[in-house]
């Protein structure tokens, strides 16, 4: 079964909205009465990551181009692994310093996979979109990596801008570019 392009665009829009919810939940702070940031351990983030992984994996089933199948499989794996690690961390069943970088790793590797997608499918209608999306994710991941390395906890992370830009671009992706 091969989906028409409008259905592919619809899947991108939903995934974009899911990703926007993840990013805003994670990076827009909730202030307490003392105006300090309340520590968020929302389980929405890992669940949404795993749900996104299932959605991306489904593309593998419906895709008709081999590199789309391959790249979407890897995206699904990365999202599911990041979701599982975040779930374990937020439930408090597995707390190691390196697990704090699970989301950052997911952003960087998903961004890298966008560039792989562009490199192996240069004739795609969505080439410039894929390139922009990949660069936004890599920028967001790099900013988060820098924040983790410097052990800073600003009120609002700079990574919010490129990551929210990524999610908004996926929501706004035109039907012609969704392939």
């Amino acid at each position: 079964m091969i989906l028409p392009q409008i259905q592919i665009a619809r899947a991108h829009w939903v995934l974009g909205a899911l990703f926007l919810a993840i990013i805003l939940e994670e990076y827009v702070p909730l202030l307490g009465r003392d105006r300090r940031r309340l520590q968020s351990r929302s389980l929405l983030v890992p669940w949404a990551l795993m749900l996104g992984g299932v959605g991306v994996w489904a593309t593998t089933v419906f895709a008709d181009i081999v590199h789309d199948m391959l790249v979407h499989t890897l995206w699904g794996d990365v999202l599911f692994a990041a979701g599982a690690l975040e779930l374990a961390r937020r439930r408090g069943v597995y707390e190691r310093p390196w697990v704090d970088g699970a989301l950052t790793f997911a952003f960087l590797s998903c961004g890298g996979l966008f560039l792989v997608h562009v490199a192996i499918d240069t004739a795609s209608q969505g080439e410039s979109w894929h390139l922009a999306l990949g660069l936004l994710l890599i920028t967001g991941g790099a900013l988060e990596l820098l924040r983790l390395w410097r052990r800073r906890a600003p009120l609002i992370s700079l990574a919010l801008l490129p990551l929210a830009g990524f999610a908004l671009a996926v929501i706004a992706i035109p039907v012609a570019a969704a392939s």
């Binding site: 619809r10 829009w13 939903v14 974009g16 909205a17 926007l20 919810a21 805003l24 939940e25 827009v28 702070p29 909730l30 202030l31 307490g32 009465r33 105006r35 309340l38 929302s42 609002i156 908004l168 929501i171 706004a172």
Partner: protein
């Protein structure tokens, strides 16, 4: 928490001068969704279960729905 309790919490926060960033971003997203819908237009597919999913799966509505979610999550 019931809706009127949530509203009280938001109003109490505003009285104390605490403006939740989530509240601001949520309202911006809803406003963006409304303007986008006015500019782009929305399709109506029907009220059946599948049609309803198609009705909601449109970029301006998705943006506004994320905004509503963020408003809900802006309670401290």
């Amino acid at each position: 928490m019931p809706l009127h309790e949530q509203s009280k919490a938001v109003i109490q926060g505003l009285r104390e001068g605490i403006i939740q960033p989530r509240l601001v971003v949520g309202l911006m997203l809803i406003a963006g969704g409304v303007f986008w819908a006015l500019f782009r237009g929305l399709e109506f597919y029907g009220l059946g279960p599948v049609d309803l999913a198609y009705d909601l799966d449109q970029p301006p509505l998705l943006l506004a729905l994320v905004g509503v979610w963020l408003l809900y999550r802006s309670r401290s």
